[in-house]
Protein backbone atom coordinates (compact mmCIF):
# COMPACT_ATOMS: atom_id res chain seq x y z
CA UNK A 1 0.00 0.00 0.00
CA UNK A 2 1.33 3.42 -0.86
CA UNK A 3 1.96 6.07 1.77
CA UNK A 4 -0.66 8.27 0.17
CA UNK A 5 -3.17 5.51 0.79
CA UNK A 6 -2.19 5.37 4.44
CA UNK A 7 -2.66 9.12 4.71
CA UNK A 8 -6.06 8.83 3.11
CA UNK A 9 -6.97 5.97 5.38
CA UNK A 10 -5.91 7.89 8.47
CA UNK A 11 -7.97 10.81 7.26
CA UNK A 12 -11.02 8.65 6.77
CA UNK A 13 -10.64 7.00 10.16
CA UNK A 14 -10.22 10.36 11.88
CA UNK A 15 -13.21 11.79 10.07
CA UNK A 16 -15.20 8.66 10.81
CA UNK A 17 -14.48 8.86 14.54
CA UNK A 18 -15.38 12.51 14.54
CA UNK A 19 -18.60 11.99 12.64
CA UNK A 20 -19.57 8.85 14.52
CA UNK A 21 -18.80 10.54 17.77
CA UNK A 22 -21.35 13.12 16.88
CA UNK A 23 -23.82 10.39 16.06
CA UNK A 24 -23.23 8.59 19.31
CA UNK A 25 -24.03 11.68 21.30
CA UNK A 26 -27.01 12.33 19.11
CA UNK A 27 -28.06 8.70 19.41
CA UNK A 28 -27.81 8.90 23.14
CA UNK A 29 -29.86 11.98 23.22
CA UNK A 30 -32.34 10.36 20.86
CA UNK A 31 -32.19 7.14 22.85
CA UNK A 32 -31.77 5.08 19.71
CA UNK A 33 -29.42 2.32 18.66
CA UNK A 34 -28.10 1.92 15.17
CA UNK A 35 -24.91 -0.07 15.18
CA UNK A 36 -23.27 -0.42 11.81
CA UNK A 37 -20.15 -2.56 11.70
CA UNK A 38 -18.88 -2.98 8.17
CA UNK A 39 -15.17 -3.37 8.08
CA UNK A 40 -13.78 -5.49 5.35
CA UNK A 41 -11.28 -5.32 2.61
CA UNK A 42 -11.11 -7.29 -0.52
CA UNK A 43 -8.27 -8.49 -2.64
CA UNK A 44 -9.53 -7.92 -6.09
CA UNK A 45 -6.85 -9.93 -7.74
CA UNK A 46 -8.34 -11.57 -10.69
CA UNK A 47 -7.43 -12.72 -11.38
CA UNK A 48 4.14 -31.29 -37.95
CA UNK A 49 2.87 -33.31 -38.17
CA UNK A 50 6.46 -34.63 -38.40
CA UNK A 51 5.53 -37.56 -40.43
CA UNK A 52 8.17 -39.94 -41.55
CA UNK A 53 9.19 -39.15 -45.05
CA UNK A 54 12.18 -39.77 -47.19
CA UNK A 55 14.37 -37.69 -49.41
CA UNK A 56 13.26 -34.44 -47.90
CA UNK A 57 14.18 -31.43 -49.92
CA UNK A 58 14.35 -28.15 -48.12
CA UNK A 59 13.16 -25.03 -49.86
CA UNK A 60 12.51 -22.72 -46.95
CA UNK A 61 14.33 -19.82 -48.45
CA UNK A 62 14.95 -18.61 -51.93
CA UNK A 63 18.69 -18.61 -51.42
CA UNK A 64 18.79 -21.83 -49.50
CA UNK A 65 21.58 -24.24 -50.13
CA UNK A 66 19.84 -27.54 -49.91
CA UNK A 67 21.16 -31.01 -49.77
CA UNK A 68 19.15 -32.08 -46.78
CA UNK A 69 18.14 -35.47 -47.97
CA UNK A 70 17.63 -37.94 -45.22
CA UNK A 71 15.32 -40.43 -43.66
CA UNK A 72 13.43 -38.48 -41.03
CA UNK A 73 12.63 -40.59 -38.02
CA UNK A 74 9.60 -40.07 -35.83
CA UNK A 75 10.04 -36.93 -33.76
CA UNK A 76 13.06 -35.68 -35.68
CA UNK A 77 13.46 -32.26 -37.22
CA UNK A 78 11.57 -31.92 -40.46
CA UNK A 79 13.01 -29.06 -42.51
CA UNK A 80 9.81 -28.72 -44.48
CA UNK A 81 8.03 -27.53 -41.37
CA UNK A 82 9.95 -24.24 -41.38
CA UNK A 83 8.20 -21.30 -42.97
CA UNK A 84 9.53 -19.67 -46.10
CA UNK A 85 12.51 -17.48 -45.37
CA UNK A 86 13.16 -18.96 -41.93
CA UNK A 87 16.77 -19.70 -42.82
CA UNK A 88 19.28 -18.74 -45.44
CA UNK A 89 20.82 -22.18 -45.66
CA UNK A 90 20.27 -25.64 -44.30
CA UNK A 91 22.76 -28.39 -45.00
CA UNK A 92 23.52 -31.74 -43.48
CA UNK A 93 27.03 -31.81 -42.07
CA UNK A 94 29.10 -34.09 -39.89
CA UNK A 95 28.97 -33.18 -36.24
CA UNK A 96 30.03 -34.47 -32.85
CA UNK A 97 27.59 -34.76 -29.97
CA UNK A 98 28.40 -33.93 -26.39
CA UNK A 99 29.28 -37.54 -25.53
CA UNK A 100 31.63 -37.82 -28.47
CA UNK A 101 29.20 -39.54 -30.80
CA UNK A 102 29.92 -38.79 -34.44
CA UNK A 103 26.74 -38.18 -36.37
CA UNK A 104 25.11 -35.85 -38.83
CA UNK A 105 23.44 -32.57 -38.09
CA UNK A 106 21.40 -30.00 -39.87
CA UNK A 107 23.42 -26.82 -40.10
CA UNK A 108 20.75 -24.16 -40.17
CA UNK A 109 21.75 -20.55 -40.71
CA UNK A 110 19.29 -17.82 -39.75
CA UNK A 111 19.39 -14.06 -40.11
CA UNK A 112 18.17 -12.76 -36.77
CA UNK A 113 15.00 -11.62 -38.47
CA UNK A 114 11.78 -13.61 -38.12
CA UNK A 115 10.15 -14.84 -41.31
CA UNK A 116 6.55 -13.86 -41.86
CA UNK A 117 6.46 -11.73 -38.74
CA UNK A 118 7.13 -8.06 -38.14
CA UNK A 119 8.60 -7.49 -34.67
CA UNK A 120 6.87 -5.04 -32.33
CA UNK A 121 5.26 -2.97 -31.06
CA UNK A 122 7.15 -2.89 -27.79
CA UNK A 123 7.04 0.18 -25.51
CA UNK A 124 4.25 2.74 -25.17
CA UNK A 125 5.30 6.25 -26.12
CA UNK A 126 3.07 7.98 -23.64
CA UNK A 127 1.34 7.04 -20.44
CA UNK A 128 -1.85 7.65 -22.40
CA UNK A 129 -1.02 4.81 -24.79
CA UNK A 130 -3.29 2.18 -23.37
CA UNK A 131 -4.52 0.30 -26.40
CA UNK A 132 -3.08 -3.24 -26.11
CA UNK A 133 -2.74 -3.35 -29.88
CA UNK A 134 -0.24 -0.49 -29.78
CA UNK A 135 2.05 -1.84 -27.10
CA UNK A 136 3.94 -5.00 -26.24
CA UNK A 137 3.90 -7.21 -23.17
CA UNK A 138 5.87 -7.77 -20.01
CA UNK A 139 6.15 -10.48 -17.39
CA UNK A 140 3.78 -9.97 -14.49
CA UNK A 141 2.20 -12.70 -12.46
CA UNK A 142 -1.00 -10.75 -12.17
CA UNK A 143 -1.73 -11.12 -15.86
CA UNK A 144 -3.14 -14.01 -17.81
CA UNK A 145 -0.43 -16.64 -18.34
CA UNK A 146 1.92 -14.38 -16.41
CA UNK A 147 2.05 -11.55 -18.90
CA UNK A 148 0.42 -8.13 -19.08
CA UNK A 149 0.03 -5.52 -21.75
CA UNK A 150 2.76 -2.95 -21.38
CA UNK A 151 0.38 -0.02 -21.44
CA UNK A 152 0.98 3.54 -20.38
CA UNK A 153 -1.01 2.89 -17.24
CA UNK A 154 1.22 -0.06 -16.42
CA UNK A 155 4.30 2.14 -16.85
CA UNK A 156 2.78 4.72 -14.51
CA UNK A 157 2.11 2.03 -11.90
CA UNK A 158 5.58 0.46 -11.85
CA UNK A 159 6.49 1.98 -8.49
CA UNK A 160 3.47 0.25 -6.97
CA UNK A 161 3.94 -2.95 -8.92
CA UNK A 162 7.50 -3.39 -7.71
CA UNK A 163 6.96 -1.63 -4.39
CA UNK A 164 9.84 0.72 -5.19
CA UNK A 165 9.27 4.46 -5.41
CA UNK A 166 12.44 4.91 -7.49
CA UNK A 167 10.66 3.73 -10.62
CA UNK A 168 10.04 6.64 -12.96
CA UNK A 169 9.88 5.63 -16.59
CA UNK A 170 7.93 8.67 -17.71
CA UNK A 171 7.93 12.44 -17.60
CA UNK A 172 5.28 13.65 -15.18
CA UNK A 173 4.73 16.83 -17.13
CA UNK A 174 4.65 15.58 -20.68
CA UNK A 175 3.56 12.02 -19.83
CA UNK A 176 6.20 10.86 -22.32
CA UNK A 177 7.57 7.38 -21.64
CA UNK A 178 11.36 7.18 -21.67
CA UNK A 179 12.12 4.76 -24.50
CA UNK A 180 15.50 3.79 -25.92
CA UNK A 181 14.99 5.27 -29.35
CA UNK A 182 18.56 5.34 -30.61
CA UNK A 183 21.09 2.63 -31.34
CA UNK A 184 23.29 4.00 -28.58
CA UNK A 185 20.57 3.88 -25.94
CA UNK A 186 19.40 0.48 -27.13
CA UNK A 187 22.92 -0.85 -26.79
CA UNK A 188 23.45 0.89 -23.47
CA UNK A 189 20.27 -0.36 -21.86
CA UNK A 190 20.09 -3.88 -23.23
CA UNK A 191 22.94 -5.31 -21.19
CA UNK A 192 23.57 -6.45 -17.62
CA UNK A 193 25.44 -3.35 -16.48
CA UNK A 194 23.39 -0.37 -17.47
CA UNK A 195 24.89 3.09 -17.12
CA UNK A 196 22.83 5.60 -15.21
CA UNK A 197 21.83 7.55 -18.28
CA UNK A 198 20.11 4.50 -19.70
CA UNK A 199 18.32 3.46 -16.54
CA UNK A 200 14.67 4.33 -16.13
CA UNK A 201 13.94 3.40 -19.72
CA UNK A 202 11.57 1.13 -21.49
CA UNK A 203 14.03 -0.74 -23.67
CA UNK A 204 13.40 -1.51 -27.28
CA UNK A 205 15.67 -1.80 -30.27
CA UNK A 206 14.82 -1.33 -33.90
CA UNK A 207 15.51 -3.92 -36.56
CA UNK A 208 17.09 -1.05 -38.47
CA UNK A 209 19.99 -1.07 -36.01
CA UNK A 210 20.92 -4.55 -37.20
CA UNK A 211 21.56 -3.52 -40.79
CA UNK A 212 25.33 -3.27 -40.37
CA UNK A 213 25.65 -5.95 -37.74
CA UNK A 214 26.15 -9.67 -38.09
CA UNK A 215 23.36 -11.28 -36.14
CA UNK A 216 23.22 -14.44 -38.17
CA UNK A 217 23.04 -17.61 -36.15
CA UNK A 218 24.08 -21.13 -37.05
CA UNK A 219 22.32 -24.04 -35.40
CA UNK A 220 23.72 -27.57 -35.47
CA UNK A 221 20.85 -29.94 -34.73
CA UNK A 222 21.12 -33.73 -34.92
CA UNK A 223 19.34 -35.18 -37.94
CA UNK A 224 18.37 -38.12 -35.79
CA UNK A 225 17.78 -37.28 -32.13
CA UNK A 226 19.59 -39.52 -29.68
CA UNK A 227 18.37 -39.96 -26.14
CA UNK A 228 21.00 -38.81 -23.66
CA UNK A 229 22.03 -40.91 -20.68
CA UNK A 230 21.35 -37.94 -18.46
CA UNK A 231 19.28 -34.93 -19.34
CA UNK A 232 21.19 -31.87 -20.44
CA UNK A 233 21.11 -28.35 -19.04
CA UNK A 234 19.45 -25.70 -21.11
CA UNK A 235 20.73 -22.28 -22.05
CA UNK A 236 19.91 -21.48 -25.63
CA UNK A 237 16.93 -23.67 -26.38
CA UNK A 238 16.56 -24.00 -30.13
CA UNK A 239 15.04 -22.37 -33.16
CA UNK A 240 11.46 -21.50 -34.04
CA UNK A 241 9.84 -22.48 -37.32
CA UNK A 242 10.19 -18.88 -38.48
CA UNK A 243 13.94 -18.90 -37.83
CA UNK A 244 13.78 -17.00 -34.55
CA UNK A 245 16.04 -18.10 -31.74
CA UNK A 246 14.33 -19.70 -28.75
CA UNK A 247 16.43 -18.12 -26.05
CA UNK A 248 17.29 -18.79 -22.45
CA UNK A 249 15.16 -17.06 -19.80
CA UNK A 250 15.33 -13.29 -19.85
CA UNK A 251 17.42 -11.98 -16.93
CA UNK A 252 14.47 -10.32 -15.30
CA UNK A 253 16.20 -9.36 -12.05
CA UNK A 254 19.02 -7.64 -13.90
CA UNK A 255 16.53 -5.85 -16.08
CA UNK A 256 14.41 -4.66 -13.19
CA UNK A 257 17.45 -3.94 -11.03
CA UNK A 258 18.50 -1.36 -13.60
CA UNK A 259 15.05 0.19 -13.59
CA UNK A 260 14.43 -0.90 -17.12
CA UNK A 261 11.68 -2.87 -18.79
CA UNK A 262 12.94 -4.97 -21.71
CA UNK A 263 9.65 -4.93 -23.53
CA UNK A 264 8.53 -7.92 -25.57
CA UNK A 265 6.17 -7.78 -28.46
CA UNK A 266 2.98 -9.79 -28.31
CA UNK A 267 4.87 -12.81 -29.63
CA UNK A 268 7.22 -12.87 -26.64
CA UNK A 269 10.24 -11.63 -28.55
CA UNK A 270 12.47 -8.61 -28.57
CA UNK A 271 15.61 -7.34 -30.27
CA UNK A 272 19.17 -6.84 -29.16
CA UNK A 273 22.32 -6.10 -31.10
CA UNK A 274 23.82 -9.55 -30.58
CA UNK A 275 21.01 -11.94 -31.37
CA UNK A 276 18.70 -9.81 -33.39
CA UNK A 277 15.08 -10.70 -32.80
CA UNK A 278 14.67 -13.61 -30.38
CA UNK A 279 11.95 -15.20 -28.27
CA UNK A 280 11.95 -15.50 -24.51
CA UNK A 281 8.43 -16.83 -24.36
CA UNK A 282 5.93 -18.64 -26.50
CA UNK A 283 3.32 -15.93 -26.52
CA UNK A 284 0.47 -15.04 -28.80
CA UNK A 285 0.68 -18.29 -30.72
CA UNK A 286 2.93 -16.48 -33.22
CA UNK A 287 5.45 -19.28 -33.59
CA UNK A 288 2.94 -22.11 -33.34
CA UNK A 289 2.46 -22.54 -37.06
CA UNK A 290 2.85 -26.32 -37.29
CA UNK A 291 -0.79 -27.23 -36.74
CA UNK A 292 -1.67 -30.84 -35.97
CA UNK A 293 -4.50 -32.84 -37.49
CA UNK A 294 -5.35 -34.56 -34.24
CA UNK A 295 -5.91 -31.44 -32.14
CA UNK A 296 -2.53 -31.71 -30.46
CA UNK A 297 -0.77 -28.45 -29.70
CA UNK A 298 0.97 -26.96 -32.74
CA UNK A 299 4.67 -27.30 -33.45
CA UNK A 300 6.54 -24.06 -32.83
CA UNK A 301 10.16 -25.05 -33.32
CA UNK A 302 12.95 -27.49 -32.57
CA UNK A 303 15.23 -27.86 -29.60
CA UNK A 304 18.97 -28.16 -30.11
CA UNK A 305 18.75 -31.90 -29.48
CA UNK A 306 16.50 -32.26 -32.50
CA UNK A 307 13.18 -32.89 -30.79
CA UNK A 308 10.16 -30.76 -31.61
CA UNK A 309 8.76 -28.13 -29.26
CA UNK A 310 5.01 -27.71 -29.31
CA UNK A 311 2.70 -25.16 -27.77
CA UNK A 312 1.54 -25.52 -24.21
CA UNK A 313 -2.12 -26.18 -24.94
CA UNK A 314 -4.00 -28.31 -27.43
CA UNK A 315 -6.85 -27.03 -29.55
CA UNK A 316 -9.20 -27.44 -26.59
CA UNK A 317 -7.02 -25.31 -24.40
CA UNK A 318 -5.86 -28.22 -22.30
CA UNK A 319 -2.34 -28.83 -21.11
CA UNK A 320 -0.58 -32.12 -21.58
CA UNK A 321 -0.38 -34.27 -18.49
CA UNK A 322 2.41 -36.63 -17.63
CA UNK A 323 5.23 -34.47 -18.90
CA UNK A 324 8.72 -35.50 -17.82
CA UNK A 325 11.08 -33.13 -16.09
CA UNK A 326 12.19 -31.67 -19.41
CA UNK A 327 8.55 -30.90 -20.21
CA UNK A 328 8.53 -33.71 -22.76
CA UNK A 329 6.34 -36.65 -23.59
CA UNK A 330 6.06 -39.27 -26.30
CA UNK A 331 3.20 -40.30 -28.55
CA UNK A 332 2.74 -42.42 -31.65
CA UNK A 333 2.38 -39.47 -34.01
CA UNK A 334 5.18 -37.18 -32.94
CA UNK A 335 7.49 -39.48 -31.02
CA UNK A 336 9.29 -37.72 -28.18
CA UNK A 337 8.56 -33.99 -28.08
CA UNK A 338 8.41 -31.04 -25.73
CA UNK A 339 5.66 -28.65 -24.71
CA UNK A 340 6.57 -25.03 -24.11
CA UNK A 341 5.79 -23.53 -20.73
CA UNK A 342 3.42 -20.61 -20.35
CA UNK A 343 4.75 -17.20 -21.43
CA UNK A 344 5.08 -15.89 -17.91
CA UNK A 345 7.30 -18.77 -16.84
CA UNK A 346 10.12 -17.24 -18.86
CA UNK A 347 11.25 -20.55 -20.33
CA UNK A 348 10.38 -23.06 -23.03
CA UNK A 349 11.63 -26.45 -21.83
CA UNK A 350 13.25 -27.76 -18.68
CA UNK A 351 16.16 -29.78 -20.01
CA UNK A 352 17.43 -31.58 -23.09
CA UNK A 353 16.13 -35.13 -23.35
CA UNK A 354 18.52 -35.82 -26.18
CA UNK A 355 22.17 -35.23 -26.92
CA UNK A 356 23.21 -31.88 -28.24
CA UNK A 357 26.24 -30.91 -30.24
CA UNK A 358 29.47 -30.70 -28.26
CA UNK A 359 30.17 -27.27 -26.88
CA UNK A 360 33.42 -26.71 -28.74
CA UNK A 361 31.49 -26.95 -31.95
CA UNK A 362 28.42 -25.40 -30.51
CA UNK A 363 26.37 -23.45 -32.91
CA UNK A 364 24.02 -20.57 -32.48
CA UNK A 365 24.40 -16.98 -31.51
CA UNK A 366 25.78 -15.55 -28.32
CA UNK A 367 24.23 -16.59 -25.03
CA UNK A 368 20.89 -15.06 -24.37
CA UNK A 369 21.90 -13.32 -21.20
CA UNK A 370 22.13 -14.72 -17.73
CA UNK A 371 19.32 -15.70 -15.44
CA UNK A 372 18.07 -13.46 -12.66
CA UNK A 373 20.40 -12.77 -9.81
CA UNK A 374 19.59 -14.59 -6.65
Amino acid sequence: MRISNYRSLVGVVAFSLFALGGCVSESSSDDTTDSTTESSTTDSSTDTDTDTSTDTTTDSSTDTTTDTSSDIVLGALDPTMFVDGAFTSNEIVDCTLSDGTETQCYEIVTTGTPAEQTPGPFCPRSTTDNDPADVGIWFDESGTDGIVDLTGNYIMDLAVTYNDSNWKLYDENTLEVFVTETLESCDGAAQPNVEDEFKQHCVECSMDYLADLDVTATYLIPVTPQVADTTGSVSQVGVALNGTELSAPAPVDDILGNYTIAAFDDCGGHINLHQGYHYHAAAGGCAEVGTQDDGHAALLGYALDGYGIYGMRDENGDEATGLDECRGEEDDVRGYHYHAASPGENLFIGCFHGKTVASDTDAGGPPAGGPPNQ
Binding site: E141, P249, T321, N346
Partner: protein, 124 residues
Amino acid sequence: MKFQCTLVKKLLVLSAFTLLLPASYSYAHSGSTGNEPWKACTAKQKSQACEYTGAHDERYIGTCQSISLHMMCVRNQPIIQSTNKHDTQIEAKTMVKATVEAKVEVKVKEVPEAPEGAVKDSSK
Protein backbone atom coordinates in the same frame (compact mmCIF):
# COMPACT_ATOMS: atom_id res chain seq x y z
CA MET B 1 -31.34 12.94 13.25
CA LYS B 2 -31.30 9.15 13.39
CA PHE B 3 -31.55 8.96 9.61
CA GLN B 4 -28.79 11.51 9.22
CA CYS B 5 -26.47 9.41 11.35
CA THR B 6 -27.35 6.31 9.38
CA LEU B 7 -26.65 8.20 6.21
CA VAL B 8 -23.31 9.43 7.54
CA LYS B 9 -22.33 5.91 8.53
CA LYS B 10 -23.27 4.49 5.16
CA LEU B 11 -21.29 7.17 3.41
CA LEU B 12 -18.31 6.54 5.64
CA VAL B 13 -18.42 2.83 4.92
CA LEU B 14 -18.62 3.59 1.24
CA SER B 15 -15.70 6.01 1.46
CA ALA B 16 -13.57 3.53 3.37
CA PHE B 17 -14.43 0.77 0.93
CA THR B 18 -13.58 2.99 -2.01
CA LEU B 19 -10.21 3.78 -0.49
CA LEU B 20 -9.39 0.27 0.60
CA LEU B 21 -10.32 -1.36 -2.66
CA PRO B 22 -7.57 0.23 -4.76
CA ALA B 23 -5.14 -0.17 -1.89
CA SER B 24 -5.68 -3.91 -1.74
CA TYR B 25 -5.62 -4.04 -5.53
CA SER B 26 -2.22 -2.40 -5.56
CA TYR B 27 -1.00 -4.78 -2.91
CA ALA B 28 -2.05 -7.68 -5.06
CA HIS B 29 0.28 -6.41 -7.76
CA SER B 30 3.28 -5.61 -5.62
CA GLY B 31 6.48 -7.57 -5.67
CA SER B 32 5.76 -9.17 -9.00
CA THR B 33 9.36 -9.89 -9.91
CA GLY B 34 8.88 -13.43 -11.13
CA ASN B 35 11.64 -14.80 -8.92
CA GLU B 36 9.58 -17.61 -7.49
CA PRO B 37 10.86 -20.34 -9.88
CA TRP B 38 14.42 -19.63 -8.80
CA LYS B 39 13.62 -19.23 -5.13
CA ALA B 40 11.80 -22.55 -5.17
CA CYS B 41 15.06 -24.31 -6.05
CA THR B 42 17.36 -22.57 -3.62
CA ALA B 43 19.67 -25.19 -2.08
CA LYS B 44 18.07 -27.94 -4.12
CA GLN B 45 19.62 -30.37 -6.53
CA LYS B 46 18.73 -31.10 -10.11
CA SER B 47 15.55 -33.18 -10.46
CA GLN B 48 14.40 -32.52 -6.91
CA ALA B 49 10.73 -31.75 -6.60
CA CYS B 50 9.75 -28.11 -6.30
CA GLU B 51 6.72 -25.92 -6.39
CA TYR B 52 5.76 -22.30 -6.03
CA THR B 53 2.65 -20.20 -5.90
CA GLY B 54 1.64 -17.54 -8.40
CA ALA B 55 -0.06 -14.21 -7.89
CA HIS B 56 -3.50 -15.77 -8.00
CA ASP B 57 -2.56 -18.59 -5.65
CA GLU B 58 -2.21 -20.95 -8.57
CA ARG B 59 0.36 -23.68 -7.99
CA TYR B 60 3.27 -24.56 -10.23
CA ILE B 61 4.66 -28.02 -9.53
CA GLY B 62 7.72 -29.53 -11.15
CA THR B 63 11.38 -30.27 -10.64
CA CYS B 64 14.51 -28.21 -10.29
CA GLN B 65 16.49 -27.95 -13.49
CA SER B 66 19.64 -26.16 -14.50
CA ILE B 67 18.67 -23.30 -16.76
CA SER B 68 21.51 -21.03 -17.82
CA LEU B 69 23.61 -22.53 -15.02
CA HIS B 70 21.08 -21.67 -12.32
CA MET B 71 18.59 -24.00 -10.68
CA MET B 72 15.06 -23.13 -11.59
CA CYS B 73 11.76 -24.80 -10.85
CA VAL B 74 10.44 -26.14 -14.14
CA ARG B 75 6.78 -27.00 -14.03
CA ASN B 76 5.83 -30.34 -15.57
CA GLN B 77 2.28 -30.56 -14.31
CA PRO B 78 -0.64 -28.48 -15.53
CA ILE B 79 -1.02 -25.27 -13.60
CA ILE B 80 -3.30 -25.88 -10.63
CA GLN B 81 -5.70 -22.99 -10.41
CA SER B 82 -6.56 -21.98 -6.89
CA THR B 83 -10.07 -22.51 -5.64
CA ASN B 84 -9.37 -19.39 -3.60
CA LYS B 85 -9.34 -17.45 -6.83
CA HIS B 86 -12.96 -18.35 -7.32
CA ASP B 87 -13.73 -17.56 -3.72
CA THR B 88 -11.90 -14.26 -3.99
CA GLN B 89 -13.81 -13.32 -7.08
CA ILE B 90 -17.08 -14.20 -5.39
CA GLU B 91 -16.02 -12.21 -2.36
CA ALA B 92 -15.11 -9.23 -4.52
CA LYS B 93 -18.37 -9.43 -6.42
CA THR B 94 -20.25 -9.70 -3.12
CA MET B 95 -18.49 -6.62 -1.84
CA VAL B 96 -19.30 -4.70 -4.98
CA LYS B 97 -22.88 -5.89 -4.80
CA ALA B 98 -23.08 -4.87 -1.15
CA THR B 99 -21.68 -1.48 -2.04
CA VAL B 100 -24.19 -1.01 -4.81
CA GLU B 101 -26.99 -2.09 -2.53
CA ALA B 102 -25.78 0.28 0.15
CA LYS B 103 -25.77 3.10 -2.39
CA VAL B 104 -29.27 2.19 -3.47
CA GLU B 105 -30.38 2.03 0.14
CA VAL B 106 -28.95 5.43 0.84
CA LYS B 107 -30.68 6.87 -2.20
CA VAL B 108 -33.96 5.21 -1.26
CA LYS B 109 -33.75 6.67 2.22
CA GLU B 110 -32.85 10.04 0.79
CA VAL B 111 -35.99 10.15 -1.28
CA PRO B 112 -38.50 10.07 1.60
CA GLU B 113 -36.30 12.42 3.63
CA ALA B 114 -36.45 15.18 1.06
CA PRO B 115 -40.20 15.15 0.41
CA GLU B 116 -40.89 14.81 4.11
CA GLY B 117 -40.91 18.54 4.50
CA ALA B 118 -42.98 18.85 1.38
CA VAL B 119 -45.52 16.45 2.81
CA LYS B 120 -45.60 18.44 5.98
CA ASP B 121 -45.96 21.54 3.94
CA SER B 122 -48.75 20.04 1.91
CA SER B 123 -50.49 18.93 5.05
CA LYS B 124 -50.64 22.41 6.21
